[in-house]
């Protein structure tokens, strides 16, 4: 009994440093952010006054934030739908046995391994009308007179941001779906084929149901990453044209570090935190239902 207690004490001693670091780097910032969201904090003016829920009310009246929310919803929805659809297709392609399969599986991850800021800066040039790779390809293969500035029009700039996000993270999503695909036994497919199932039927009746849970699980982190994504927009469009590609995380960063409006930025961060909590709990419920 005594021995058990000392083991437990030692275990606590071992985890206390980790817990302390976690508390300092996670719990304290969350608590401080929630506290700050109720204050009007202007760093340079030395202003730090309690303002109740004023920051929260203003957030829903601020046209910049409303534009950011609009684009964030479009960005997350479009990006996730395309991630799931194209990710599954790409995973199926990578699951086919062919020469060079291993090589393809390896190189496909290169965009994911690159920092988003680097990709954003490259994309800024890539979508440039004069120097960009995109227009150059269009001029070479489709229309030699093509001229279009992708990043100066609202819809094309938004489209470009979503495309770059997909280009970066889709391979990683596909590789994770592929890992789920590899757990499906070949015997099931063989049995289905013996029963006369077509390729499409095998896909819809076997593959999809069996990877659905895996895909649903992957959706949580990938959606949360999209909700907190800021670096791609920061380096690619700076939120422009106007504020049309300013994701909510980008707006929070600008309020906090450019406008030094700490209290308001904290309120926006808390709202984003709540949205993320709601999404995560809904997704987890869905997974529990699927498991049942």
């Amino acid at each position: 009994m005594k021995n058990k207690k000392s083991i437990l004490a030692a275990a606590w001693l071992l985890v206390i440093p980790v817990l302390s670091i976690r508390a300092f780097t996670t719990l304290y910032p969350i608590a401080a952010t929630i506290r700050n969201s109720f204050f009007d904090i202007k760093l340079l003016q030395g202003k730090n006054e309690f303002c109740g829920i004023k920051n929260y009310i203003f957030a829903f009246r601020d046209p910049k934030v409303l534009t950011s929310i609009e684009f964030t919803v479009i960005f997350v929805a479009a990006s996730m739908i395309l991630h799931i659809m194209m990710g599954v297709i790409l995973a199926l392609i990578l699951n086919i046995k062919f020469k060079g399969q291993r090589f393809l599986r390896t190189i496909i991850l290169i965009p994911w391994a690159m920092p988003a800021v680097v990709i954003g800066m490259a994309a800024k040039w890539g979508f440039n009308n004069d120097y960009g790779l995109i227009n150059d390809l269009i001029r070479r293969f489709i229309n030699p007179d093509f001229n279009y500035s992708w990043l100066i029009y609202k819809n094309s700039a938004r489209f470009a941001v979503i495309v770059m996000d997909l280009w970066k993270d889709l391979p990683f999503f596909a590789i994770l779906v592929l890992s789920g695909l590899q757990f499906i036994s070949h015997d099931i497919y063989e049995a289905a084929r013996v029963d006369g199932a077509s390729g499409i039927q095998c896909f819809t009746k076997i593959t999809l149901p069996l990877i659905a849970k895996n895909v649903a699980t992957l959706t949580i982190p990938f959606t949360l990453w999209r909700l907190t994504s800021f670096d791609l927009v920061y380096s690619m469009t700076s939120g422009g044209p106007g504020e049309d590609t300013a994701l909510i995380a980008y707006r929070i960063t600008m309020e906090a570090f450019t406008n030094l409006n700490t209290g308001y930025a904290a309120a926006l961060a808390v709202l984003l935190f709540i949205v993320m909590l709601i999404f995560t709990s809904l997704n987890m419920r869905l997974q529990t239902k699927m498991a049942d």
């Binding site: 000392s6 030692a10 030395g46 004069d130 500035s149 100066i152 469009t237 700076s238 422009g240």
Partner: protein, 417 residues
């Protein structure tokens, strides 16, 4: 034995963490220009956060200053990104951080910091009234001073100038651009094959400079958006973009892209600060028959933007005396010349401009100083926010999402905020 072993693990873990966190070890020292022998002779040490820190020529300048002033100067580099640098310096000042004594700041930062009580006032012993009289006076009152108190010492001046690509001018047969009609004529003549008479950097945080410059040249007032000349200036930019006299693509361009396009012969002219000279010279493009600066065209008023980088003393500094000594040197004729010659940049003191300086095409720059009114840009209390908002407002106007009246109405509320 086992019990002893169980207790030793946490001790080891804590020990490892201590080592990893650097507790008990010396913290990293900033780059010290002063060598060890000199350190022994130095009276005092100051830490300088300078945007030039990585330049070998600047390090040489600091080394000379150290020997002359008998102080040791540790030079630290701030963040390279403008927004992050602004936030970094704001945090240092507002948190009462004593690790930095002197900081280099631009007009945007100065406008934000000077009235907040984080800067040490510059005394008349540090910079005498005679020396203060040698800087551009309108500028001095607008940016480094708050009321009668001076808070910074400008050390490097940038003047907005008119740059042309002579090869394009020669092709079109245009000999000079002295007024608005000739400027418009240039735009019409060069409107072909992806070449434009005028190009700019209209990204939302950069376009502020060009809006200000055009308002100045039209004789308008940036603070009064009901003024006809002010409105006319912005309307010209809008109409040029809509008529394809200047590319609409430049709404995403910063100076990097603009300079690249200018070098490649896509623009016949640009408005750009004098500091770009080193870039074009190093690239081998600055020549009378290639890229060069010409006189400012007269659109109604010979006014041009100026901006400077300035030294400030952190109010929380423990080494104010040594910091003041350094600032006195930087404001002196000797210090001004030494900096200008080391970095090949225009000094902030106008009298030094008349001396022999190692700056290419200095004569045309002297002409600007003698013929143009040098205008400090206006900044609100939250400069970065208002600059960005003005840029967004301008972009919406260029894209025809709002009318000129709506643009001016919003611009007025931005400058009044």
């Amino acid at each position: 034995m086992r019990k002893w072993f169980l207790w030793i693990i946490p001790v080891l873990v804590v020990g490892c963490l201590q080592t990893a966190c650097g507790l008990g070890s010396d913290t990293a020292e900033p780059t010290a220009v002063c060598d060890k022998d000199a350190e022994n002779r130095c009276d005092e040490t100051i830490t300088l956060l300078s945007m030039d820190a990585s330049s070998p020529a600047y390090q040489e300048f600091i080394r000379d200053a150290e020997q002359m002033l008998n102080i040791k100067i540790n030079v630290r580099e701030p963040n390279e990104n403008a927004d992050n640098r602004h936030a970094e310096i704001s945090t240092i000042l507002s948190s009462g951080d004593r690790s930095v004594d002197v900081i280099t700041v631009n007009d945007e930062m100065m406008s934000e910091f000077k009235s907040k009580g984080y800067l040490e006032p510059i005394s008349e012993e540090t910079v005498s009234p005679e020396i203060r009289g040698l800087y551009p006076q309108q500028y001095l009152k607008a940016i480094p001073m708050e009321g009668d108190i001076l808070y910074s010492v400008p050390f490097y001046m940038d003047i907005m100038m008119f740059w042309v690509n002579q090869e394009i001018l020669d092709k079109t047969g245009i000999e000079h651009i002295n007024n608005i009609d000739e400027f418009k004529h240039l735009a019409e003549k060069t409107r072909s094959d992806g070449t434009y008479g005028y190009g700019g950097a209209w990204e939302k945080t950069y376009v502020y400079n060009e809006i200000y410059q055009f308002v100045n040249m039209f004789g308008g007032n940036y603070l009064d958006w009901s003024d006809e000349q002010t409105r006319e200036a912005v309307k010209l930019l809008h109409d040029m973009a809509r008529n394809h006299d200047t590319p609409i693509d430049q709404l995403v361009d910063q100076y990097d892209q603009m300079e690249q396009k200018f070098i490649e012969g896509k623009y016949a002219s640009i408005f750009m600060y004098s500091g770009a000279m080193n870039f074009f010279v190093q690239d081998g493009r600055y020549e009378e028959n290639k890229i060069h600066i010409v006189k400012l065209p007269d659109f109604g008023a010979m006014k041009t933007n100026i901006a400077t980088w300035q030294y400030i003393i952190n109010n929380a500094s423990d080494h104010k005396e040594a910091a003041e000594k350094f600032l006195t040197y930087c404001a002196s004729a000797e210090g001004c010349k030494a900096y200008s010659n080391a970095l090949h940049r225009l000094p902030a003191r106008l009298d030094i401009l008349d001396e022999e300086l190692q700056i290419p095409d200095l004569d045309i720059m002297r002409e600007y100083v003698s013929e143009c009114e040098l205008e400090a840009r206006y900044f609100t209390d939250a400069p970065m926010k208002s600059i960005s908002e003005m840029g967004e407002n301008f972009q919406e106007y260029i894209m025809n999402e709002i009318t000129l009246d709506e643009f001016c109405e919003r611009a007025q509320s931005i400058v009044e905020e």
